[in-house]
């Protein structure tokens, strides 16, 4: 429908609001200066290295171990958060209980509390002489200075992403289908799996991917509780910093490029999930 399209375009162009050139120009210039040009330097530097060297430093045994730690712990934390975050969202939407407002406000704490503060607090809480760490120490379980500690920090960081993604969808969910299923004899578990979960899935996937992306790149809350042993509990962002401190710019650049590509892929995935679910809602 080319006619309709040009008519619309003409109508849009006719708006009398000023400042299009100024605001768009400023937005593009500032975006390029602060974000796009600096980010592209990493890729240009990496391209200058040549593929063999890039692969050698970007996928050295120590780097691969660091990716495994970063992705493994971020994945574990996001999975744990998906389960418990959904329970938290469910409880907030469906039930009333004393102190609900305070607990609800507390969910956003990881967005407001500086990561370094979270890091030292979690480390002292879960270390073997800490309030929680000493409870499990007699069982021979160590919660800090190993990948379990990293996972704990990433649970802290990722929880609000799941809760705040799922909560609004759950609140808008009509109870008719649920009640119909229950009255037709479905068990509560069947209702959850067949009726509620499919409706929540896009929001849950978005929250999961956001938490995962954040967890993979997280630094401040992790390093205090991680132990930071190469090959065991060294996360990829820390390895970048270590290489940089040793003036190994090539190593730092290559690892950064690998991480950037992965986070762009996850961003693309989030956008896809959101546009798919929007299309389904619109249809």
């Amino acid at each position: 429908m080319p006619n309709l399209f040009t008519a619309q375009a003409r109508a849009r162009r006719r708006t009398i609001i000023p400042g299009f050139g100024l605001t768009t120009g400023f937005t593009l210039a500032w975006l390029s200066l602060i974000v796009l040009i600096p980010l592209s330097t990493v890729f240009i530097r990496a391209a200058g290295m040549g593929l063999p060297e890039f692969l050698e430093v970007g996928f050295s045994p120590r780097a691969i171990a660091a990716y495994k730690v970063s992705f493994g712990t971020a994945l574990a934390a996001a999975l744990i958060n998906a389960v418990f975050g959904m329970i938290v969202a469910w409880v907030f939407v469906r039930y009333e209980f004393p102190g609900k407002r305070i607990f609800d406000a507390l969910i956003d704490l990881p967005f407001a509390l500086p990561t370094a503060v979270a890091g030292i607090a979690l480390a002292s809480l879960y270390a073997s002489n800490g309030w929680i760490g000493q409870l499990v120490e007699p069982l021979g379980i160590r919660l800090a200075y190993n990948p379990i500690g990293i996972t704990i920090a990433l649970i802290f960081i990722g929880l609000p992403f799941i809760v705040r993604s799922v909560e609004p969808v759950l609140a808008d969910l009509s109870r008719d289908a649920e009640e119909a299923a229950l009255s037709l004899g479905a068990s509560p578990l069947q209702v959850f799996v067949r009726v509620i979960l499919p409706a929540l899935l896009p929001a849950l996937l978005t929250g999961f991917a956001l938490a995962l992306a954040r967890g993979v790149g997280e630094y401040g809350s992790v390093i205090f509780i991680a132990g930071n042993m190469p090959f065991k509990s060294e996360i990829a962002p820390l390895l970048i910093l270590t290489q940089l401190e040793q003036y190994d710019y090539a190593g730092a650049t290559a690892i950064a490029v690998v991480m950037l590509i992965v986070s762009f892929a996850m961003l693309l995935f989030i956008n896809l999930v959101q546009s798919c679910s929007r299309r389904r809602v619109d249809a």
Binding site: I16, I17, I107, Y219
Partner: protein
Amino acid sequence: MSASAYRKSGAAHALILIALAFISLFLLLPLITVFAQALAKGFDAYRTALVEPDAIAAIKLTLTVAAISVPLNVVFGIAAAWSIAKFDFPGKSVLVTFIDLPFSVSPVVAGLVYVLLFGMQGWLGPWLREYDIQIIFAVPGIVLATVFVTFPFVARELIPLMAEQGRDDEEAALSLGASGFQTFLRVTLPNIRWGLLYGVLLCNARAMGEFGAVSVVSGHLRGLTNTVPLHVEILYNEYNFVAAFAVASLLAMLALLTLVLKSILERRFDYQHGSVGH
């Protein structure tokens, strides 16, 4: 027990218990720990840690960095939202994705890109040295890294808000003879004020608390390029736990204040913010 909206079964009680236990374990207890550890050796030790010259220098630097980077974000956020929400042009959704980009970049990588650009080994390094301008291991680098990590905060709140409000109010004001700037000041700004405040609140919390990106570009010079979060790290690594947690408690209080103001904004003004993912 307060009045329950729905009949509570045993399963409901169990779910509430699980949710509250999870929140307590991962959110509430860490917060309490900060204050408990800060006051572990009494109030005098707490106060001593806060009035120490390096701590005061760190607080001053953090306030300076936030005072520069938050207004920059406000100007950018308003300009971006005006452009994207009031006009239609090709490539708009790509532009929005690019604005969100810093959220998906690791803070350490954010710091690294500026080192590769402005550091001694960086592209502009030799040129900057010739003119005796220092960006990395100095305050400008800290500001740049902070602007990068807080880049989307204000824009992200304002774009959906201004898009929802449409162009009618502005067009009415303009056709009645108001200038563009008057229209913005008298019509647009009052319409977006709560959203703007919300964005500024979250932006400020992140600006004052940023650790990873700032850590890469700061050089950790005590009393010179140490922000409050970096000062916490140094004290903690020196096993000076009371002082570390005392300084950290300032940041925790800032976080609590942010949360209180945020929920007041959400409840009192019924402000629906449109985004998850800060």
